[in-house]
Amino acid sequence: RSRSKSKRISGFDMAPPASALLPGATAAVAAAGQLPGTNPAIPGLF
């Protein structure tokens, strides 16, 4: 398969959507008692 065309970004290491990390973005996050920003800031780094 040709790799010459511009590749779309792979879904790998795509962290959960940023909106889920913003304050008040999702009720579910707040309900879980999870503080915004506690998710790993850099996906794939462990």
Partner: protein, 123 residues
């Protein structure tokens, strides 16, 4: 099947649980807004997923076979079975994929006892 399948400690095959999510998984044929989805869109979505997988998994070893459950039923939904040529390749993939994300969802990876997909049924 509700059986508890044993997870081998080593196998040439790894299972990525519920990894593929088709765009119309909640409501077949239509998107979240209720608009019908062109089958070609779903096909392209699948092919891109497959391509991502193939490219990433190829880094860890030689892929013997790559099976994606493109189903809507709860059972095994979106499961991906990757059989490598060698057990070490599978172990390498498992090590490297554990704890990572794909499209915003965590990757759940385990060894799978399946080595022949033509006969992959519950025993």
């Amino acid at each position: 099947c509700s059986r508890l399948h044993t997870k081998p400690s080593i196998s040439p095959t790894v299972l990525l649980s519920n990894m593929y999510q088709r765009p119309d998984m909640i409501t077949p044929g239509v998107d979240a807004q209720g608009h019908p989805i062109d089958p070609r869109t779903i096909q392209r979505h699948f092919e891109e997923f497959y391509e991502d997988l193939f490219e990433e998994l190829g880094k860890y070893g030689e892929i013997e076979s790559l099976n994606v459950c493109d189903n809507l039923a709860d059972h095994m939904v979106g499961n991906v079975y990757v059989q490598f040529r060698e057990e070490e390749h599978a172990a390498n993939a498992l090590r490297n994929l554990t704890g990572r994300f794909y499209a915003g969802r965590p990757i759940i990876v385990d060894f799978s006892p399946v080595t022949d997909f033509r006969e992959a049924t519950c025993r």
